[in-house]
């Protein structure tokens, strides 16, 4: 394969082409399958009205707040669990259990506790990602090679400096990757939260569009959600490549 990076765009182009052909052929009612130009048109309308940008900002903001909280707390807790057997024994069963409770199932509770504002949505994203982030970081810490830790000890290193100067840099690539993977569920959850209750946001726009049978707007919402998710993913990959060249 001379230029393998072309394969990705090629796959997208094939789907776009199939979509165009099907909607041109008139085999499917445009109510169910809007044509690409109709979706483009709807996107343009929403963009010019400022709705699209406002929705995107609202959703991205929730994701970033919830995920930042989750990432910031998971890092020290994951490191503590990975490097201390007592803390690990105490918390691992608990976290392992909560991890398997589907985050959307917490929505009713969150609404009862915190109402319909921003806080329950941010917390939902926190709940949906914190336990995975923590356990993945814990695992990364457990797999730091023993030689690296023991070498630091024989060089005169103490506990805390070893955590910050050996453990932290060693696990950095895995932590960034864990964040990248769990960011995808954060992005899923914000849409779920907005489908349930919100004034604005990409998920809210989709559920409104459903009420008015505006499939073109649903398509716009889905595509924008996908694109933002992809951008975030690429961002994490770029950070990983730039900051951890030693690991590749």
């Amino acid at each position: 394969m001379r230029s393998p990076w072309l394969l990705g765009p090629l796959g997208i182009a094939v789907v776009l082409l199939a979509w165009s052909l099907i909607s041109l052929s008139g085999a499917v009612d445009p109510l169910f399958l809007p044509s690409p130009p109709a979706v483009w048109q709807a996107a343009g309308d929403q963009f010019r009205g400022g709705i699209l940008v406002a929705d995107a900002i609202a959703s991205v903001r929730r994701v970033f707040l919830g995920f930042a909280l989750s990432a910031a707390l998971a890092l020290p807790l994951g490191i503590a669990m990975g490097s201390n057997t007592l803390i690990c024994r105490l918390l691992e069963p608990l976290l392992g259990l909560i991890r398997y409770m589907p985050a959307p199932a917490f929505i009713p509770l969150l609404i009862i506790y915190f109402g319909l504002g921003e806080l329950p949505k941010v917390l939902l994203i926190f709940i949906g990602t914190f336990f995975f982030n923590t356990l993945m970081i814990m695992d990364a810490v457990k797999f730091v090679p023993r030689e690296l830790l023991e070498t630091a000890l024989t060089l005169g290193g103490r506990k805390l400096p070893i955590l910050t100067r050996v453990v932290a840099p060693y696990i950095a690539p895995q932590v960034i990757d864990a964040y990248r993977i769990n960011m995808a569920s954060a992005w899923n959850l914000v849409i779920v939260a907005e489908l349930v209750a919100a004034n604005e946001g990409l998920g809210k726009r989709i559920s409104l569009a459903q009420r008015f049978l505006r499939t073109d707007e649903i398509f716009v919402g889905l595509i924008v959600i996908g694109l933002i998710g992809l951008l975030i993913d690429l961002g994490f990959r770029a950070v990983l490549r730039r900051s951890c060249r030693w690991a590749s």
Partner: protein, 255 residues
Amino acid sequence: MHLSVSGVSKTFGDGRHAKLVLDDITLSVDSGEFVALVGSSGSGKSTVMRLIAGLERPSTGVIAMDGKPVRGPGSDRGMVFQKYSLYPWMTAAQNVAFGMSLQGLPRALVRERTAYFLEVVGLQNDARRLPKELSGGMQQRVAIARALAADPKVVLLDEPFGALDLQIRETMQEFLYELWQRSGITALLITHDLEEALLLAQRVHIMAPSPGRIVRTVEADLDRSNLAHLRMSPPFLELREELVTSLRNLDAAAS
């Protein structure tokens, strides 16, 4: 400097799973000496090393540095592992500097000593390369430089050349011997390679497995002015032959 290991035994596990790994090990290393501990794999060599480094505690017996019992790891006992011990995100220079920086030495001094020790191991031109960009032999030289730069009283080397190809291993043996001669370090070398032990060390302790114990101590009083020559010299080959035979008898008796 006087390192003494007296009557040390080590049992791993307890109850029915208890396993005596070391039995009554006694040895000592004095300033400027090069001592080797040789034995087949599983005979407990690494455990001896880890006990001296303070990474494990003896079950009975005492390990002491200058009369003070060893209670944990410390920078007075540097260690070089067989492999995978360089910090992969640090350059060669940063690896060498790491111990000094952990100990809080002033920056200028760290920089100066780093340059010095990189030169000692002949890697002054590779200071900014990452471990993955260095060959196995170069990586071990960085590990040795890093251990020395932290200014230990004794360097513990646990099969430092065990993962290297035969030819590089011979070069590295000569390198280590010259280093020892030049810089007056004190070294305790662990190896399963009897030739390596006899070639480099003035005193060689031979260990037998199950449980690990010292069965013989040899003062290898040889002319080391030319190691390549020594490898082939009749007195060396004779001594080696004799020890190989006695080791083989031990292994046969054990199995």
